[in-house]
Symmetry: C2
């Protein structure tokens, strides 16, 4: 997230998957070993930022994402040739449940990623993801609208927010229209590198 609250820049498109200026949100991650490893690359830096990038795959058994994170296609799927931004071997390496209003057959990719398209709502997607994950966690990867829907429904147990110093000015806000939905979280960790501060939250259990 940018310091001014955006998790993607404005005008997302095939040319600008993260919106204009959105790459600045992820530069800290590109440098880490965990990120590079998940994308099939060697090398990368260790340290605080790597520890947090690693949490995106550590004990994750299934992933949920919104339609707009999966791709720039809007409306129906057309000829169904769009299989995500990530090439043949996406960095998820789990079943990925894509929220959509348009049903589509599942697509098995290389490296353990299979895209399933869920057209009957966020609870259904979560149920299927939990079943697929078994003992492991389900990660809600984004984007902003998907995260907000799960937060408003009270279905998020943990949050990790990585705040970079970028100031985008406009784009997709993460913490918007949430009202009291964010009130139940407690910060259990705040650490930073010169590039990013990592905030980790857990839902408070009823006392």
């Amino acid at each position: 997230m940018s310091l001014d609250g955006f998790v993607a820049g404005p005008a997302q498109s095939l040319e600008h998957p993260l919106g204009i200026g959105g790459e600045a949100l992820h530069e800290w991650a590109f440098a880490t070993r965990a990120f590079r490893e998940s994308h099939g690359d060697d090398g990368g830096e260790l340290g605080i930022d790597d520890d947090h990038a690693a949490s995106w795959s550590r004990n994750v058994g299934a992933t949920i994402m919104g339609r707009n994170m999966f791709g720039p296609v809007r409306g129906g799927w057309g000829d169904e040739t769009w299989n995500g931004w990530w090439g043949d071997d996406p960095p998820y390496h789990t079943p990925v449940f894509v929220l959509t209003h348009h049903p589509r057959a599942s697509v098995e990719m290389d490296g353990g990623t299979t895209f399933h398209f869920v057209a009957d709502g966020i609870e259904s997607a979560l149920d299927r993801a939990l079943a697929a994950a078994g003992e492991q966690d389900v990660m809600i990867a984004g984007g902003a609208s998907t995260a907000q829907q799960y937060l408003r429904a009270g279905l998020v147990d943990e949050m990790e927010i990585h705040v970079v110093p970028a100031l985008l000015g406009r784009g997709e806000r993460l913490f918007d229209d949430l009202g009291d939905a964010s009130a139940g979280f407690e910060c259990i960790e705040l650490v930073s590198s010169p590039a990013v501060a990592h905030y980790r939250y857990v839902r408070r259990t009823a006392s």
Copy 2:
């Protein structure tokens, strides 16, 4: 600022000067030696947070604040008995220029703070503050609306943003309606304690 972008909670009032839940934004500062010293108290913690709280008074020769930061009185000043939230010896110890639509005579407090009421606009307030500050800096103390007005006018040279893990859900957003006004800043420092992350920016000079 809360992680969700608010610099005050909702429903600011005499009872809740920082808005409901707004105290959570300042708890890290209350613990520091610099904050306690500016309020005439002994003791307090040293370290990263103290270093950043100290920057509010280091080399500051004049202060600007909005009317709503000065007090809960709206409209005319009535019997002019309201002299701020801070008692006889406010923590500013400089001339303080209060933006208002309602002229009022200056009020000299103890400890070097004098409140001046400026009814002819933000540029006028800045001119007077710069003259009063001499070789020292002018601090724009807040609140959100005042900061936004100076940012939109391109009159801010440096920013320090202290982001706490609190999630207020609603209140006064700092980075709102700014568009490109925040684009010219470069982060020159990001450090954190377990309680707060400090982001420091300077305006990029034209190259």
